[in-house]
């Protein structure tokens, strides 16, 4: 149980006020830890410093750099480094939890600057890149300082072992399963309906695959409707859709958490046609918790989250014919949908924060054994000793 009260410093590499999976994870984790009585300080870049919750410390304004096929809003440089050092020096932390420490960001800076118990969580899953072999030797001594490494999925762990030749403990991302389990089915979204949530303008979210599959689906299920929720401008996207099918699509815009819960319990199928770039698939975990029957592409992250098809149906990624086949199959078979949804809901409990935070906390406990808190590495004894010994010789 969470008995010992710790002072934990968490570093979030991405801009706090920009949407993203890592930010949500850090926010939920910090709030959960605070609720269980620990004192937590989060260091993160932020655009608007006035609107931060009181446990967040701003490290400055983030800058946009292209990274891993997307634009990352991160922060580094001498001023940021000074702020990181100041935060560590004044924080008096028992333990630091760095998120995504292998990308150029304040997490990496914190890893350089600090000495003591540190835990790192690796979120990203990427294909083997040549560039990593060039920067690997630079990263290695820093990553080595982490007492324990956590990967959010098997895919993220493989990325880590591939790139940095170091192992990690897999602890999944957390969700508040209860928030999604009490949704009420809404008539407007019920029937032969397919749901999709995400930034549909991004190609890697794969809405196009679903659009391509629809002509076939319509032939077998003439009354099918697709509801797309998520931020973005549907006008450009609608142009791509066959005019005859355009009225099948309804764009709901960004929806609230409560609406999300209702959405998940209303739609017949929740489809996640992502083509890649996904490391864990938090939205799938939420869909399962909401009691939706899930259809997802068979990218590694989804495959392992859905237990190879036990907790939701899989289709061959980027293959719209296969997607259509799977969807038609399930739309016709209500019993099969129910079986999958029930198995999925049970599965989702494993990702509940109650479970996940407990796992993370037991990692913290292992991290702090024998440590005397986090200090700044610049008070490096052997480095100073070396210098003074040198002077004596002269």
């Amino acid at each position: 149980m969470l008995t010992t009260k710790l002072k934990i410093g968490i570093v979030c590499p991405y801009g706090w006020d920009t949407p993203g999976g890592v930010q949500n994870h850090v926010r939920d984790l910090a709030e959960f830890l605070i609720a269980s009585g620990h004192s937590v300080s989060v260091l993160a870049p932020a655009i608007d410093e006035d609107k931060l919750p009181d446990y967040v410390v701003s490290a400055g304004k983030p800058i946009s750099i292209p990274y891993n096929g997307a634009v990352a809003r991160v922060l580094f440089g001498p001023i940021a480094y000074a702020r990181v050092r100041q935060w560590i020096g004044g924080g008096n932390f028992d333990l630091l939890h760095l998120h995504e420490p292998a990308i150029p960001s304040i997490s990496l800076l914190a890893c350089w600057a600090a000495e003591g118990p540190m835990v790192g969580t690796f979120h990203a899953a990427a294909k083997r890149q040549k560039v990593i072999f060039a920067i690997g030797p630079i990263l290695e001594p820093a990553i080595e300082k982490l007492s324990v490494r956590i990967a959010v999925s098997e895919a993220a762990r493989l990325t880590l072992t591939d790139h940095l030749e170091t192992d990690a403990v897999v602890i999944p991302n957390g969700i508040y399963a209860k928030r999604y389990s009490d949704g009420t089915a809404q008539e407007k979204w019920s029937g032969n309906t397919i749901g999709f949530i995400g930034r549909f303008e991004e190609p890697r979210k794969g809405l196009q695959v679903l659009v391509d599959a629809l002509p076939i689906i319509v032939r077998f299920a003439p009354d099918v409707k697709v509801f797309v929720a998520g931020p973005g401008d549907p006008k450009d996207f609608e142009k791509e859709i066959d005019p005859q099918l355009r009225d099948r699509f309804e764009f709901l815009g960004k929806i609230s958490e409560q609406e999300k819960a209702d959405f998940m319990s209303s739609v017949s199928l929740y489809v996640a046609p992502n083509t890649g770039g996904e490391s864990f698939g938090i939205i799938l975990a939420e869909a399962l918790a909401g009691g939706a029957c899930v259809v997802a592409s068979d990218i590694p992250a989804f495959d392992s989250l859905l237990g190879g098809g036990k907790y939701g149906a899989l289709f061959q990624s980027e293959n719209s014919t296969d997607l259509a086949k799977v969807i038609i199959d399930l739309l016709r078979d209500e019993d099969k949908r129910k079986v999958l949804a029930i198995a999925g809901k049970k599965r989702a409990q494993q990702f509940d924060w109650e479970v996940v935070a407990q796992q993370i906390f037991s990692i913290y406990e292992m991290g702090i054994v024998g440590g005397k808190g986090v200090t700044l590495g610049s008070d490096q004894r052997s480095w100073n000793r070396f210098l003074s010994r040198d002077e004596e010789k002269r």
Binding site: P141, T166, M366, V369
Partner: protein
């Protein structure tokens, strides 16, 4: 003058690198020790639970004997035989649990639950420890470290061949 300056710069750089490597190695040794201390505590706890199970009604006299023996062995083993003794204990526990579960009372259930929680912690602790050991060994094989004896008198850490499937 210029060459002297340059040489001085090189010397400083070399010294910095040596100190950097020494710090790094020191940190790694520290990590090996703490992760081992961690694992050791967990394993001791497991042996204690195993004894408790052996003395409960869960175990028939024969498995009780087997378990008690294995638990004592695991506790007393010196570093060389430790991993073998622990694997023996894992085996004995596994044997019991695979057929001893159905007629467990509530307090025994709690005991078994404690054991399974401990087991997952041990699994994590093992992976942390082996990782620390392998990175230390890797750094110690480096040319600079060997030539300048940066490791000092610290013994080379040994990998413990734990059965990765403890239970």
């Amino acid at each position: 003058m210029k060459t002297l300056l340059f040489l001085g710069f090189l010397l400083l750089l070399g010294l910095w690198y040596l100190s950097f490597s020494a710090t790094r190695l020191d940190r790694l040794h520290h990590r090996v020790e703490t992760s081992w201390a961690n694992l050791d505590v967990l394993l001791q706890k497991r042996a204690a639970i195993a004894l408790e199970i052996a003395h409960s009604d869960l175990a028939d006299p024969a498995s009780s004997m087997l378990l008690t023996g294995a638990a004592y062995q695991a506790r007393d083993a010196d570093i060389k035989n430790r991993s073998m003794a622990e694997s023996g204990l894992s085996g004995a526990l596994g044997l019991l649990i695979s057929d001893g579960l159905p007629h467990a009372t509530e307090s025994e259930q709690a005991l078994l639950q404690e054991l399974s929680a401990l087991t997952s912690k041990i699994r994590v602790a093992i992976s942390i420890h082996t990782d620390a050991v392998s990175s230390t060994v890797m750094v110690r094989r480096k040319f600079v470290v060997r030539t300048f004896r940066l490791a000092g008198k610290a013994p080379l850490p040994v990998t413990y061949e734990f059965e990765s499937d403890v239970l």
